[in-house]
Symmetry: D2
């Protein structure tokens, strides 16, 4: 039995708690949250106890911590876990500061602990199947990647203000998709963007619509287009053009109903947002983490992946702000 | 140059005239219609002359007649053409009377003239491609056929009254599709139906919705469902299940636009009706007829096919009226 | 806490056990199976005990029994449950004998117990959403229903021999779909079929391909086409034509990957078979059963529904065997 | 009757000749080509005469010239037509030199002749329908445009060498789509690219894969991805994200056949190349040109549009070569 402590009893914390509960061989022992009521409720639901961080790191029986608390807590918790020799599963990003994320990665490497970053999209059934088929050579060598990544609506401006900006907050997932799918590293990043959906976002110093282009070492090309608002729901698609064809990952829909009327032939909108679309992905990434702990195998999304995605987010932010191509 | 006369200057006559005009090596010499104004207009458009039937059959230079006039004129015109040794292209049905259709077929066989029946669906690009792939063995032996055939709306009740009933008027095309696709003959027919869209159709002694099942000599099964009304337009689909898979023929749409909004993800309705959907099919069947004349080759949809489809329509009518399975 | 006993530790029994385990407020207390090893294993997995039927029915704490054992055990278990005043969830069919099924229904009515029949398809997200939209009037009055229901492959002939025949074993689900979707009752049934996939099925006195047509009291029409073999997987579609349009329920696929190569543009085959396709439906029907017990509300798929579907299956069998239309 | 002369009897010249022949009120009088045999054959087919450019421009009866000859002849022919007061339909590009294209535009403006550039994509049924619906406000204000434009295979390297480079030769159409769809002008262009399909293209000083980003005056964003090679055929898609939804233009396919087998569920590849995909567009643009001449109305794709698209192509070429963002 692997004893685990969970940091964060919010939306994503609940997802992780539920997924941990479904894993055989795992016991959720502690829930930690500054919001005591939320911590109590979640702990009660899964037969865990509320605890402080100090208590968690002082309990030698705890083998792993799952970090789903706010971004500004990630780095410190990772470093404490490294110090205590506990395995870590941490939500993205490692930190908003690239510098600090690198320090965390060093601590992890030095302590030789397992540290998995929650890039759940790699575990999405559609994305994972596409990647597998790409690796099997179904479309030959990949040449171009086009990523469409749009949220149904923007988060509150208060959140945007502390989010690190759209590139670190939202596109960090797309940057990870880019690295994973093309299996290549960026040599240059060009990013531009606009505030088109809500002037309050511009006032907060951010944008809501972006267009990013990345060139890789092998000369491959990637384009990412992003918006904080898609009236039709969460739009999560990408396509890879290869020497022998193309693989496309489409959206998931709640049902397979088609309606044909005098007006049109219509189908469902995509699943509403990330909790629906990535429900299976969240379950599968946690199963992967637990399996890695149980078997002592490597995790697929490491803290190095977290640092690399953050490097791209920082380069994109610079490109956008300074209106220049950033070489890496 | 092959000189041709056209009977019928109505909706379908215009289509045939236009398609004849596009064929090299063909001259539309005469247009015949009881409506003198329509005949004149169509003749003028294509540089032809208005003529009487007697004149057409007396003109030895006329090699072929295209019959697009009303159903009650078909049989006599086919017989006169046979007598005069002229090739025939005739719209379906040969006649509403199976007996009389057989007499026509005998006359055609005796005179050894080419006689093609206008089962244009066999020339539809989608249907023809499906048939070709089926014949190439892509899905092994065919086992079941499901045909969906729905009009956007019913014709005037005055027309329905003289139409011969829905099985002879509308399903005759589907019966031909059945024979062509399964390459097999019926041993029993069961048909039922209802009047669901307009009570006036029932008053006229007809129905507007049908469900037909056919068993073949080889034990294959076919189901046809038909309605005089589909709010979303002309619905012309079929699918064949075979031992190694399935081939489906879908509807054609005017454009490939998809709209995603807060309401739904929608696409075009099917092309509105037969003039749109079978535009290419009408052109291709006429090109096939002209090529057969020029090269002396056989036509793909013979008067025997017309008789066989009519036999099925009559069997279905009997099955529906007498509430029994009809053996053939 | 509702204590439940499960009969049957086979494939479907495992599904139900797992779904019961996920319901709060339910305890799986006993597992009963003639296969002692299977019963032990499943009981152990869910913290239950192995027991005999006598023990289950003698335990007053058991509030409900879930019957997933072989078909020949259903009727007796339902009757014993009725006698003991325990609620019942029973897999379809109630019994292969219509007479005996009616006796069970009487026993249930007399004892006033809840008895739900496992027509899980009504709980499928796609089918349930379609039904809801139909009831909301999105396509007006329903007129025609076309059901396509094909298995990826036939079960062993030994099973077919005791299955009651394809209409009772396989189409019983489709007959329930028919009644549920059209919300109407049959007045006549015509069924025909062939053995096209494996001569051993014919030797066992059964067929593997069927075509069924049903007329309803309101004059609506339904066609069902079925095969024991679809090379491309489990094909579970239906469409309803209504006065204002059409609703179609399509297949579910494992992923939303599209591959475009020099050969074709391809997508996933449908989910392989019923355990995959109806995974959510099985969970949702059990949640519904448990909720009905907890709240004392009615279940959506009653034993009367089970009897009615069996009546249709028997009528279809007679129609096929005697080559006649069966009036109901 | 409008007398027209055609320059160029090659692939595109034949298309235009055929489309001119189908227009009532137009007579193709002359065909001009340095290849005498090609000119003779095409002229004979349409009842025209072979002539020299001098003869054409000296014939006062000629009202319009259609220029489908090689790119290096366009500018001179436009200028001569302007001098002779004849209307012009000219294939893209106006010229490879932006300077010279501007001179042509001035000549056209000065002579007040009609001059239409062959941006046939605006006349494609799918693209035109999308644009109309966008203009009707179906998705609110447009915000982002993503264009995917891929050829089935690269032209001969000899052609590439004199083509002006991929941006002027291939993307010029996409730049026109950008201006037309967003109804806005570029303020900056970033373009990058690689040679990934054939090293001979790099040797010829060109690339085969590009990624372009354009910012507009209104802050809108456009991304274009292009390849000279798509194994699955001609890929011509774009999508517009607006404040209220998205409109997508998909590929056209030869048929609507779907095949489901043990391997996959597959559909047709897109129509093979531009002659197939834009067959209707070529016909419709010529009908539009002729109608504009007959009615004296304005043409939809002017020489100014040709100059603007060329400006973008030149900016993109500079951006790629000099690895910098180009401001306009």
């Amino acid at each position: 039995m692997i004893d685990v402590a969970l940091f964060g009893a919010g939306r994503i914390g609940k997802i992780h708690a539920g997924n941990l509960a479904r894993q055989p061989g795992v016991a959720l022992k502690y829930v930690v949250d500054v919001n005591a009521a939320a911590a109590s409720e979640l702990a009660a639901k899964h037969g865990a106890k509320v605890a402080s961080a100090d208590h968690v790191f002082g309990d030698g029986a705890i083998k792993a911590v799952v970090i789903g608390s706010s971004t500004d807590t990630h780095a410190e918790l990772i470093q404490r876990a490294a110090g205590a020799g506990k395995a870590v599963f941490c939500e993205k990003p490692v930190d908003l500061s690239l510098e600090r994320a690198r320090v965390c990665a060093s601590a992890v490497a030095h302590a030789r602990i397992t540290c998995m970053i929650g890039f759940q999209r790699r575990f999405d059934p559609t994305f994972a199947a596409l990647k597998k088929r790409l690796d099997q050579g179904e479309i030959g060598e990949p040449e171009m990647l086009v990523v469409t990544s749009r949220d149904p609506g923007a988060p509150p401006v208060d959140y945007i203000r502390v989010s690190g900006g759209i590139f670190k907050d939202m596109l960090i997932h797309d940057f990870d998709i880019f690295r994973w799918i093309l299996d290549d590293e960026a040599v240059s990043v060009y990013a531009t963007g606009s505030c088109l959906t809500d002037p309050a976002i511009a006032k907060a110093g951010d944008i809501d619509s972006t267009a990013v282009t990345i060139r890789t070492k092998k000369g491959r090309l990637a384009q990412i287009n992003t918006s904080r608002r898609a009236a039709y729901g969460y739009d999560q698609r990408f396509e890879v053009l290869g020497s022998k064809g193309m693989l496309q990952a489409g959206n998931h829909t709640p049902t397979e109903v088609t309606a044909a009327t005098a007006a049109s032939v219509s189908r469902d909108k995509p699943e509403h947002f990330f909790l629906e679309r990535y429900r299976v992905a969240y379950a599968d990434e946690m199963a992967h983490f637990v399996e890695a702990l149980a078997k002592g195998t490597a995790v697929r999304t490491t803290i190095e992946d977290g640092v690399k995605a953050l490097e791209l987010a920082e380069a994109a932010t610079t490109s956008w702000r300074e209106k220049r191509i950033v070489e890496l």
